[in-house]
Amino acid sequence: MRPELNESVEAQSLAEQGMQAASNVEEMPSLSWEMLLSRVKHALGTSAPYLALIGLVGSLLVWWLLSEVIKAPLWEKVPGPVAVASEWFSRHPTFGMSIFTADYYMHIWKSCWRVLQAFTLATVLGVPLGLFMGWSKVFKDYSFPVFETLRPIPMLSWVPLAILMFPGREASVIYVTFLGAFFATTLNTLLGVESIDEVYFRAARCLGSSQRQIFFRIILPGALPFIFTGLQISIGYSWFCLVAGEMIAGEFGLGYLIWNAYMTVEYPVLVIAMITLGFLGWFSSALVRLAGRRLMQWQVREIA
């Protein structure tokens, strides 16, 4: 029998001495309503929510003054907040677009559904592509020059080609939206792989990992912070490209609504669609951020 190390009283006692103090560290409380409540309380105790409120109300006020009170130059034709609100929250809206009309939600739903499809497709294709480019030097040497030539082409210039390529309008709008998200996701994933410290590869290799294990246990988690930065950027690009696509090729959706409202001189609707896009964009980035935090507990705890 080998003399086993854990029988050594000395080593053990040393371990205990030094580490006892350290093991009395506070446990992280699990997520609960109580915790949520205390978080809200804490937030209300800081100045942030009040400052945010002042900022929002202040900018509404400036908008109102410029467009409806002073009627400043350049602002004559801009619908003011009162005009917008009286359309938006009316049970019987003049132009048929308010939170009580089904049309409004139909446009929102169309746009969200397109973004969801395009963003999902871009993530499913872009993340693996970026990972492979970072993993295999040979593959990167093949694909990177092509990628870098296509990437700077402005997404809007794809619209006519997309209409020519795809049979329906729906597919061409989704395609343009997809392109916007795809390049940002792929590039950030690649940068994420390249950001992983060499020492982790060395450690993994000398501990006996196969290439496959290195891919799934080192490259994928190691690149995750960059991947999620990329996804944040790409969800923003998706909305951007979606609106461009819908304006030109759409039949429904918020982009179409904006263009249509402009053509038919329904200016309050135009602003309603814009603000709605703002909220949707904010909400979708928040979702991506939340998903990132869930997947990267090891980073969240660092901050906590």
Partner: protein, 301 residues
């Protein structure tokens, strides 16, 4: 499919027993190792003819001022880098690449930040699929207990202190029962108190179950406190300047740091390093100036 990396470097080292300390005998020899970097006319020679032996059951300490090529040598022993000429062997078999029989504890923390302490420590056996789930759990828990980290099994490295990370890394290597442990300035950057604790901790681990250990450092006190054999490196291009056998009683105690024998060894080692520094000084190159500066740091302690 990409090709598999050789795991055992063809040494046929196969250990059936899931161990908690180092595996069977391993003796490494370094013969006439040269290493330079850069292209032909501008080659910067880092190692010029290094020769020494790492014996089993001995703690060999490699000392030299920072920047003299210690890490290059460790990388060659670990198999990350190949020498330009010369030979490195483990039990007579030439080293061809990285392998689990020679594990490195790195200067900077190499714990995977996205894995918990438990997942980090059990990583080696897990990827090699050697142990059953239950065996792995028992083994990992026992090792974590040994280094006082069982309460931190589910914590991520970012939640550990510097000393805890070093201990986690130590057992992450030990769980694989390597023949040779290569410690590349593992306690650098720790505060003085933690460093002293880690030294004591490490020396106890070694004394309880001695294997082949190479410990690289630029601190003379740490070097003599730990060493059975002190290998002193020269200025660049680095060669082995002198090998001192440190004949101090084990187990090593901190009281020893004031003993006459200890001070004798320290004086002898410093004298050699001083000579090297003077040579470097006379040469007047930048690399030599770095050496002199690093030496004055060692001596000033």
């Amino acid at each position: 499919m990409p090709q598999e990396i050789p795991k055992d470097n063809g040494n046929g080292h196969k250990d059936q027993h899931p161990g908690i300390t180092q595996g069977a005998s391993g003796e490494m020899t370094v013969e006439h190792v040269h290493k330079g970097y850069g292209l032909k006319p501008l080659v910067k020679v880092v190692l010029g003819d290094c020769n020494f032996v790492l014996e089993n059951r001995k703690l060999t300490v490699l000392i030299g001022p920072s920047g003299c090529g210690k890490s290059t040598l460790v990388n060659i022993l670990a198999g990350y880098d190949m020498p330009d000429s010369g030979k490195v062997t483990l039990d007579g078999v030439p080293v061809k690449g990285p392998g689990r029989d020679r594990l490195v504890v790195f200067q900077e923390t190499a714990l995977f930040p996205w894995m918990t302490t438990y997942q980090n420590v059990s990583f080696g056996p897990r990827v090699r699929n050697e142990l059953s789930k239950e065996e792995l759990r028992v083994e990992t828990t026992r090792l974590l207990k040994l280094v006082g980290l069982e309460a931190f099994a589910d914590k991520y490295p970012s939640q550990l202190s510097g000393g805890m990370m070093r201990r986690a890394e130590l057992v992450r290597a030990l769980i694989n029962r390597p023949k040779v442990m290569l410690m590349d300035e593992p306690f650098r950057g720790l505060d003085a108190m933690t460093r002293a604790l880690m030294q004591e901790y490490y020396v106890r681990l070694f004394e309880t179950k001695p294997g082949t250990n190479l410990f690289v450092t630029s601190e003379i006190e740490e070097a003599i406190f730990l060493a059975d054999r002190l290998v002193i490196m020269s200025n660049r291009p680095a060669t082995i300047r002198k090998v001192l056998e440190i004949d101090l009683p084990r187990p090593r105690q901190f009281q020893m740091l004031t003993s006459k024998e200890y001070l004798g060894y320290k004086g002898e080692a410093l004298e050699i390093l001083h000579e090297e520094a003077m040579k470097a000084f006379a040469r007047g190159k930048t690399s030599s100036a770095d050496f002199v500066e690093a030496y004055s740091k060692i001596a000033g302690k």
